[in-house]
Each structure stands twice: as structure tokens, then as C-alpha cells.
């Protein structure tokens, strides 16, 4: 399979849109016939990245815009989640397991660790004052492969 397909989705930085983002991306990915586990992984990383954009990028200001881009090339899924918020000063620290810049909010500090574990690759590009872009890649094994 070598078809290419893509989408772009933009929505307000409101927490109610976290579930919308998960369902929208899962629905796009379903054309690759992913396993239930792969689908859960993808929903979880989308949730983590969008939640980070809302809480950290926009400081829970609902007037921001979150952009998700998805691309399928063969059995590869490319996802980017982007905000134009406050950006991350220290990327290495932000990606450290259990680290959170907002301990008062009862955050677990596991967002980036989950994204790293559930996807094959993740790159974070961030500039303080400009925003953050999380680029993720995952190969979808697909249920079909297992039966063939």
C-alpha cells in the first residue's frame, strides 16, 4: 500500500476538545485497520499532546488555537500537534519522566514519557514565546498483516 492521505484539524484550546481530538484522529487512523492497542496508543498520545498545548502552551486560556496534522504514507502515520503558545524553555527538563512545571495542578509529569513510549519517534520543536510543535511517527502493523 503506497497511498498518501492527510488531514489538518484546528480547534479552540478548550479542554472539552481533548476528546474531540482523540476521536477525530482515531477515526482518520482507522483506515489503516489498526489493532485496538494501536488505536488506544494513538488516542492516548493525542490526548497528552493536546492537553500539554492547552495547559502549558496556552495556560488554559480558551482563546488559543491547537492544530493537528495527520499524514498516512503506506503503513506509516505522521502526526503533529502544534500550539502558538508560550513555548518550552528547557525541553530536556520537560521530557524528564515525572517532571511537571505545574505540580500545584496535580499533574503526573508523564505526558512526554507516554508519547515516547507509545510512538516510534517523537520530536519536539519549541521556541519560548512562539509555541510548541510535537512531531510523532508510528508504523501501524494493521490487523490484516497478522492474518496474511
Amino acid at each position: 500500500m503506497s497511498e498518501t492521505n492527510f488531514f489538518t484539524l484546528q480547534f479552540a484550546s478548550r479542554s472539552v476538545n481533548e476528546s474531540f481530538a482523540r476521536v477525530a484522529v482515531a477515526s482518520f487512523v482507522s483506515q489503516l485497520d489498526p489493532t485496538l492497542e494501536e488505536l488506544t496508543d494513538i488516542k492516548t498520545v493525542v490526548s497528552e499532546a493536546v492537553t500539554n498545548a492547552i495547559i502549558h502552551g496556552y495556560n488554559e486560556d480558551p482563546n488559543g488555537v491547537v492544530t493537528i496534522r495527520g499524514r498516512i504514507e503506506g503503513d506509516m502515520l505522521y502526526l503533529t500537534v502544534e500550539d502558538e503558545g508560550s513555548g518550552i524553555e528547557d525541553l530536556e527538563l520537560a521530557r524528564t519522566p515525572l517532571y511537571t512545571s505545574k505540580p500545584e495542578l496535580e499533574r503526573s509529569g508523564m505526558g512526554f514519557t507516554i508519547m515516547e513510549n507509545f510512538m516510534d519517534r517523537i520530536d519536539v520543536v519549541s521556541e519560548p514565546g512562539k509555541g510548541t510543535k510535537v512531531e510523532m511517527v508510528k508504523r501501524i502493523e494493521s490487523k490484516k498483516m497478522m492474518y496474511n
Partner: protein, 117 residues
């Protein structure tokens, strides 16, 4: 699917049955409802049933960790039951499974706390 919870108190143990999707959007209400029930019912032990939880991310880990701290600070114990493989992986990643006891079902959770079901 949105988030909800069902609460049932058995003696000084509170059973919280989480339902639907526990994410950042649902976290505040989940936290507030559990804290309120723990304080009003003079609850010692907390059982979290994840049987009807269809989705959870790191925000849910934060909520569970927060209640664990609250309950242990009061001298009680927390048990989590009916954990799906997906949620168990999050528990493993965050180290939560090392500090929180996990039981198969509500019945086993109750008996592990010495509460007869």
C-alpha cells in the same frame, strides 16, 4: 463518551466506580467529587474500580496519585481494581503499580481491606 462516577460507601471504605473517559477535562470534577465524599463520609480506605473506564491518560494518573496521597495521609489504604491492559501500561510507566495495590475485582479489593462484601 463523557466522564462520570458512582460512589458507594461500605463502612469506612469508599468504592468509586469510574465511568467513561478520565482526561484533563474530567480531572477537576473527578478530584472534587472524590475529595468531597472522602471528607463527608469520614472515609479511611478507597477502592477505585476502573471496570467501566473506557479511556485514561496521564491526567488520570495525576488524579489517582493525588487521591493515593490524600488517603495515605489520613492513615488509610487505596486499592485499584479491574484495571485494563491499557491502563496497566500507564501504571507501569509511571511507577504507580509499585505503590498502589491492584486487585482483580471489587470483591477482592474489599476483602483485601478486611471489608466483607
Amino acid at each position: 463518551m463523557s466522564f462520570g462516577m458512582q460512589l458507594e460507601q461500605r463502612g469506612r471504605a469508599l468504592i468509586v466506580r469510574l465511568q467513561g473517559e478520565l482526561d484533563h477535562h474530567a480531572a477537576d470534577s473527578a478530584r472534587a467529587q472524590m475529595e468531597d465524599a472522602i471528607l463527608r463520609g469520614n472515609v479511611a480506605h478507597l477502592i477505585l474500580s476502573l471496570k467501566d473506564l473506557s479511556f485514561m491518560d496521564s491526567s488520570g494518573i495525576g488524579v489517582i496519585l493525588g487521591r493515593y496521597k490524600m488517603i495515605t495521609a489520613r492513615g488509610g489504604r487505596m486499592v485499584v481494581c479491574d484495571v485494563s491492559p491499557a491502563v496497566y501500561r500507564l501504571f507501569e510507566m509511571s511507577g504507580l503499580f509499585k505503590i498502589v495495590s491492584i486487585e482483580q475485582s471489587e470483591r477482592e479489593a474489599l476483602s483485601s481491606l478486611g471489608v466483607v462484601s
